[in-house]
């Protein structure tokens, strides 16, 4: 039986987030003390690099290397930025860390400042997280009062200050260059890399951007050492990962497990399996940049590489379980729709290409696709990946490509048979009343659009042109007289 292993969430729910003493009792600020009094900045970078900590926000770039590049820049002004613009559908681990353990973020960012030679940090947090902002604000004030933040921390020469910046709800501001431009007061849209932020970032100065979960690992690594950290997880992906487990699963919520845990272990041992006796079909990981991993691969040990090999990615840790009632094309469409809404619109492939890709998927789900559609989808997806400016666009076709790869039959069924077996795509099925109908009139009474006709004690019929496929009749019929069958306006 796999057990959760808490590094990032070590204090969440354990301490009072507004009580600094509580945090200190859990070894809080000891790592910072150790860093400032026993370690050189280079030692800190080495420790993080040696631990093999990788960015928990998406791409998994080695944090130590990012820090090292920034540390190597000769510049008297550098910045530490925390990306708390958590935006993946369903993910809320960053919010939980800030709400439950705000001092760990402050401590980690200060350590990072010391490591790279920065004296200023920004936490870019979405304005939709008022409680997190409130608690972080209080924690910052308290830390300053106690000399743990601000000038001459722990009485040393090192000074570091933190400021909170609010994000206005643009998903693309989770992309580091967009985030930086947003802090600078510009439109939140990305710019080409290089230059990388570690060389030329906020206000043109060397800047490291790490997400909340990444930072939350730092004090633990400093205190317990890189070897301890490497003893958790897999060779290429040491440590733990927090996942937001959601969808068709009995136990939903945040979980933290060592890297290398299998999908099966998460779903069955921690998640308690799929409810209502349904079979799992896939899990979606990596949010709008990720993909759907089919049940055949549920014994995969999760790390950055294994997810990538399955056309998905770690992302920030969204993990949504899909059961047999899920339409995979509809799922791909859902994620793409999200990207189309959240694209900043700067580059052509993301602005127009994703819109066209979504329109192609819509033809699949509404029964108007033809024999060229799959080729068009593949071809356009490849160009979008090849030519988009930032990570958002470069990964936006992933949910489509991964589902095309693992569930080609579902696409084929939609296109060739005009059928959605999961009865999700409304244009591809209809409700009909069969001969067992006794004319009880219940369905007609419940129908919100009054499209069921028939006299009392006579067989009723559904006027298809008016039906909105809400399924109310199907639900309420006590005689199993309403059938859901393939077919529809475009079929």
């Amino acid at each position: 039986m796999i057990e959760q292993y808490r590094v990032v969430l070590r204090n969440c729910g354990v301490i009072d987030p507004d009580n600094l003493d509580d945090y200190i009792k859990q070894d809080g600020y000891q790592a910072l003390g150790k860093v400032l009094t026993e370690m050189s900045p280079a030692d800190v970078v080495d420790e993080i690099e040696g631990a093999g900590l990788r960015g928990r926000g998406g791409g998994g770039f080695p944090t130590g290397i990012k820090w090292k590049i920034a540390a190597q820049q000769e510049n008297d002004t550098k910045y530490v930025v925390c990306n708390a613009d958590e935006g993946d559908p369903g993910a809320f681990m960053d919010r939980s860390v800030i709400e439950g353990d705000p001092h760990s973020l402050i401590e980690a960012m200060t350590i990072a400042g010391y490591a790279i030679g920065a004296s200023m940090g920004y936490v870019y947090v979405r304005a939709e997280y008022p409680l997190a902002i409130e608690r972080l604000n209080r924690a910052i004030c308290k830390a300053k009062e106690e000399g743990l933040l601000g000038d001459n921390i722990f009485g040393t020469d090192f000074s570091f200050d933190l400021q909170i910046k609010f994000g206005a709800g643009a998903f693309v501001c989770g992309e580091e260059t967009s985030l930086i431009h947003s802090i600078e007061g510009y439109r939140g849209e990305p710019t080409t890399k290089p230059p990388f932020p570690a060389v030329e970032g906020l206000f043109g100065k060397p800047t490291i951007v790490n997400n909340v979960e990444t930072f939350a690992n730092v004090p633990a690594i400093i205190l317990k050492g890189k070897d301890w950290f490497r003893s958790i997880g897999t060779k290429t992906s040491p440590g733990t990962k927090v996942f937001a487990l959601a969808g068709k699963i009995n136990n939903t919520g945040l979980i933290e497990v060592p890297m290398g845990t299998t999908i099966n272990q998460i779903i069955n041992e921690i998640g308690g399996g799929v409810p209502n006796g349904k079979k799992p079909k896939a899990i979606q990981t990596g949010g709008p940049s990720g993909g759907c991993i089919p049940v055949e691969y549920f014994n995969t040990a999760i790390d950055y590489e294994s997810l990538k090999a399955l056309e998905s990615m770690m992302g920030s840790g969204g993990m949504i379980v899909l059961d047999e009632d899920t339409c995979i094309v509809d799922t791909a469409k859902f994620y793409l729709d999200f990207t189309v809404e959240e694209s900043c619109g700067k580059c052509t492939p993301c602005r127009i290409g994703n819109k066209r890709l979504l329109e192609l998927l819509e033809t699949v789900t509404n029964g108007t696709a033809d024999e060229n559609t799959i080729n068009d989808i593949r071809s356009l997806s490849q160009v979008i990946k090849d030519t988009s400016l930032c990570g958002l666009g470069q990964t936006s076709p992933n949910p489509v490509l991964s589902t095309l790869k693992f569930f080609p039959h579902e696409y084929k069924e939609h296109i060739e048979d005009k059928k959605c077996s999961a009865f999700v795509c409304k244009e591809l099925y209809q409700y009909v009343i069969n001969d067992t109908c006794v004319g009880c009139t219940l369905c007609a009474k419940k129908c919100p659009v009054n499209c069921i006709e028939g006299d009392k004690k006579e067989k009723h019929t559904i006027v298809q042109e008016d039906c909105i496929k809400c399924g109310k009749c199907f639900e309420v019929c006590k005689f199993n007289s309403v059938d859901r069958v393939p077919g529809g306006s475009n079929v």
Binding site: I352, V383, D386
Partner: protein
Amino acid sequence: MSKVNLTINGVSVEVEKGTTILEAAKSLDIGIPTLCYVDLEEFNVKNKVGSCRVCVVEVDGRNNLAPSCCTPCEEGMSVVTNSARVLHARRTILQLLLSDHPKECLTCKKSGECELQDLASEYRVHEIRYEGEESSYPTDRANKSIYRDPNKCIMCRRCETACNDMQKVGVLSGTERGFDAVVDTATHRALADTHCTFCGQCVSVCPTGALTAISYNQDIIEALADPSKVVIAQTAPAVRVAIGEEFGEEPGTISTGKMVAALKKLNFDYVFDTDFAADLTIMEEAHEMLERIKTGGELPILTSCCPAWVKLLEHQFPEMVKIPSSAKSPQQMFGAVTKHYWAKKMGVDPHNVVVVSIMPCLAKKYECAREEMKCDDIPDVDFVVSTRELAVLLKESGINMSNLKEQEYDNPLGESTGAAVIFGAAGGVLEAALRTAYEWFTGNELEAVDFEMVRGIDGIRTAEVDLNGTTIRVAQASGLGNARALLNKIKKGEETFHAIEIMACPGGCINGGGQPFIHGDTSIIKKRQQALYEIDSNEEIRKSHENPMIKKLYKEWLGTPGSHEAHKYLHTEYFERERT
């Protein structure tokens, strides 16, 4: 600078570190298409936002394609610019752009000069594979100068760079997001309701028909055909050194005589020269400047010939609206003189006189419609035609300007000096004013008339001029961004000047918003500049106050510079305007 070595399509090349792949390819004469990229080298302005993605190339070892316009060359890089993958990607990008673009190329105002159209033709985009919903935005033509059709915007952001980075006006920017993203004004206001100066630099750089000039060509054709009207053309200095480009002449070709001949072929009743009014402007401005210096009036005096600059001042520096010279611009002075002096002399009812200005400028369209730009309720100027629009008028009338025999301007309002013609290049107004002010202030003859230190299209120039023992400090700024920087220094007291010339367009009117498109080649602007100075140096009379017709005008009508009569017809006032 350290060097890096790379190969492009198998050819080795050594370039300076920081060079982009696009620039390196150019040095090997390898063509890579671009749309959003533009390099206004002489003005130190680049749009390299990497948004259109048509310039992508394949870089060995890189997962995705690289935008060559903003990817620096690295040591050992191996680049392929024409692989099947690259060409497919570029063609798809073009198809995507066209899928959200009105299919009205044949009737588009930009047809024939549209960079998207050119590229679609070059890449033989014969079908649009991905069609779907098209954007729908309201158009804006509620002003006299600029027509905006955001449906044709391809988000290249060139206009934004021109408006924000170069001109520092800040009216245009990316708005909305995703498929709805478009360059627009804040809160989608009409340009007329913003602090837009109508300088037209956005129009100059727009690759498509999203930003174009508002044309009055049809009104002019009708006026020319109306026997009851006396239709007068006045031609601004900068037009004569640019119009030739529209007829295939080399940039910098001086086309004065041919242009006059062409206008006569168009049946203008009289073809006069704005240069005449430029000399007149100098009389009034130099007089005003010396008055202020002598009487301790407000300094520096700022030139007021450029309406876009005047509008910037009214919006952004309202506390300074009293500083510019009250002299009207040459275009407006010309109109006033024509309708209230020349018409009377000719026995023509000024109401029947139609003054058409041929201008390098789009703001002039706005200027002539300003409420106060009229005398006795008769507007000074009726219509403004840009250099580009003149070419259209000529071409549709079947007039090939290049083949015409040169003709002279009509008199008396065609007489001008070398001082007037240099109004078209940054620093020219200041130099012309100095030539006259020197002689008036010192009473001595100015022998060396070339004030080279104030010439230049590179932004800001400052100089000290010795007026026989009295030193005056002068400056010129071209480009509204430079103008703002200079004014801010004056506001803070960091710099003091006696006189400043400001031109809204970088380089002056030779680079006006109505000039032939340069498609990013700013060396063309230099050639136009050189041509103007060549005209000046070949003139016999090079000081405005020596223009015999100007002398006659004062003798017969105005009396002296700054007189009551001069103020009534040749001067104006400025207003504090809101900053949006």
